[in-house]
């Protein structure tokens, strides 16, 4: 099995604060890894470093064997990594279709000015996340939370991402929307996409991941099958804030 993403000895310091502390993990192609931990554990910081929005203090990040630590965010995206945000960030005055179009744009001024947008590709991406053709002409500002999550997924898929970093995909969703997004992600998994998922909604996340790692204050405290990670004493303590849990 090919290793899609390999993070080794990643460290990120903000002054005296250690946000990521010697974190290492590997993610195989087609696999789905859950990243859990209490608020402020440093999950989003890990995402930001993989995307190049933040530079790590030390450690390496390899994508299919290539060190991508020195690349800019657009260069990493061009390689096939994409992320969604904890709070969806649509282009609110644009339509759903135009939002997807921005994701599809090549990073070249010439083709942006002289090339044409690919309507059928836009339709296909929109429909692949469950929008109808009519939905595509809605303004993004009219969408409900569940639809905004779908829009973010479509825009991220439009960039050609093969490895998807999903930050709190279930936050702010109704039960119905959670099962809709969950079905969508299961479908994407069958299609061979690789996932790194952060979520507070542990039951919703369980069927979507192969294994999990738990971090607390930037340090990995457990790794393995999801149920084992959840049963881990340190993990329970970090979530519930009580070291006597389970004893």
């Amino acid at each position: 099995m090919t290793i899609a993403l390999e993070v080794s000895h990643l460290v990120k310091r903000f002054g005296g604060l250690i946000a990521t502390n010697d974190l290492s993990f590997t993610l195989n192609e087609g696999e789905s890894l859950g990243l859990i931990g209490p608020n402020g554990a440093g999950k989003t910081t890990v995402f930001s470093q993989i995307m190049g929005e933040l530079r790590q203090t030390s450690g390496t990040i390899c994508y299919f064997g290539q060190d991508i630590g020195g690349l800019s965010t657009p260069e990493r995206i061009a390689k096939g990594i994409g992320r969604t945000y904890q709070v969806p960030r649509p282009f609110s005055d644009l339509t759903v279709r135009e939002n997807i179009r921005v994701g599809l744009m090549p990073d070249s001024l010439i083709s942006m000015i002289f090339g044409r947008s690919d309507q059928s590709k836009e339709n296909e991406l929109g429909q692949s996340v469950g929008f109808s053709i009519r939905d595509l002409d809605k303004s993004a500002s009219e969408l409900a939370m569940g639809d905004l999550r779908k829009l973010e997924l479509a825009r991220t898929l439009a960039t050609g991402a093969r490895v998807l970093l999903l930050d709190e995909v279930f936050a702010g969703l109704t039960t119905g929307e959670i099962s809709m997004i969950s079905d969508l992600l299961k479908d994407l998994r069958r299609r061979g996409f690789t996932f790194l998922i952060v979520s507070h909604d542990l039951p919703a996340m369980e069927p979507l991941i192969d294994k999990a790692i738990a971090i607390e204050r930037g340090t990995m405290i457990a790794e393995g099958v999801f149920s084992d990670v959840l049963a881990n004493h340190d993990v329970r303590a970090s979530y519930l804030g009580d070291t006597d849990v389970g004893s």
Binding site: T73, R83, E98, R101, M105, D107, L109, T159
Partner: protein
């Protein structure tokens, strides 16, 4: 049309056309990407001074001095403002404002024999004879700029600039180099500013640094774009004509600086009522009228 209007009105129309060009130039950069430029007089000034100096002091014919002035504006502006495009929000506005003031000082200190110092330059060769020809030239320029920008903004490039104004990080998160996009937007904006500035210098025949690198001039440009409707092509044109004619109509009633109170008040009320500008107001009126018609038929 020129035959039917007074000469004074014609001159007002010409003013409005040039203001429209400047407002469209401002809007391509600031109205779209949200990077508010306070430095447009700086760019317009480079264009105006370049062609004035080239044609008056070096005898370069305007058909060469104007294109040269545009190129100088684009690259001169780029060299100094490129670092500023990496700064966000109000800092960008402040840096560009500083450049405008710097330019005012520079034309006085560096080679006053060329720039004319505080007195400016007079006797710049006119391109047209009479107000009518001047009007036709100004309208042609304005419509040419409008068409060019409209075509450009319809492309994916235009969509991407607009997206930057909404959420720049998300544009980068979609895999696009936003610095490159902003630089291109800046170059287009500088091209239009340089073109407008150069032709305007030949139209007025003189340049006065205090009137050009001036905060009133700067705000007139910005207000024209905002009350007309930022992020559109027709909006800044609409706003420029509205503003120039408003000031002109107020002149007999309020001859002094009080006019600017009224104009400021009108701009404020319009902007508070509809931040998307006159264009959006016109659109909603049209929709309402159409809606009524449908009701009658039903």
């Amino acid at each position: 049309m020129p035959e039917f209007v007074e000469r004074g009105t014609l001159r007002t129309m010409i003013q409005a056309c040039y203001l429209a060009i400047f407002a469209m130039s401002w809007d391509v950069l600031s109205g779209r990407t949200g990077y508010i430029s306070f430095g447009h007089p700086f760019l317009i000034g480079i264009g105006a001074y370049s062609t004035a100096i080239l044609s008056k002091k070096f005898g370069v014919p305007p058909e060469y001095s104007i294109p040269l002035a545009i190129v100088i504006t684009m690259f001169g502006g780029l060299v100094v403002l490129l670092p500023a495009l990496r700064i966000k929000g109000s800092y960008f506005a402040l840096v560009t404002l500083a450049f405008m003031e710097l330019m005012y000082q520079l034309v006085q200190v560096i080679r006053p024999d060329l720039t004319g110092g505080t007195r400016g330059i007079t006797g710049i060769k006119s391109l047209t004879r009479g107000a009518e020809a001047g009007y036709e030239l100004a309208v042609t320029l304005m419509l040419g700029v409008a068409l060019g920008l409209w075509l450009l903004m319809r492309t994916r490039f235009g969509t991407a600039l607009w997206a930057i104004g909404m959420d720049e990080d998300s544009v980068r998160g979609s895999g696009l180099s936003t610095t490159r996009l902003k630089t291109m937007a800046f170059l287009v904006s500088a091209l239009v500013a340089g073109l407008g500035g150069a032709y305007y210098a030949h139209y007025t025949g003189s340049l006065a640094p205090r009137a050009l690198f001036d905060i009133d001039f700067l705000f007139t440009i910005i207000v024209a774009a905002l009350i007309g409707g930022a992020g559109t092509i027709i909006g800044p044109m609409f706003g420029a004509f509205f503003l120039i004619f408003l000031l002109e109509w107020l002149r007999p009633i309020l001859p002094g600086a009080e006019r600017y109170f009224v104009y400021g008040g009108v701009a404020l009320i319009l902007y508070m009522y509809q931040p998307k500008g006159l264009v959006a107001i016109a659109q909603s009126l049209r929709d309402r009228v159409r809606g009524d018609n449908y009701d009658h038929r039903a």
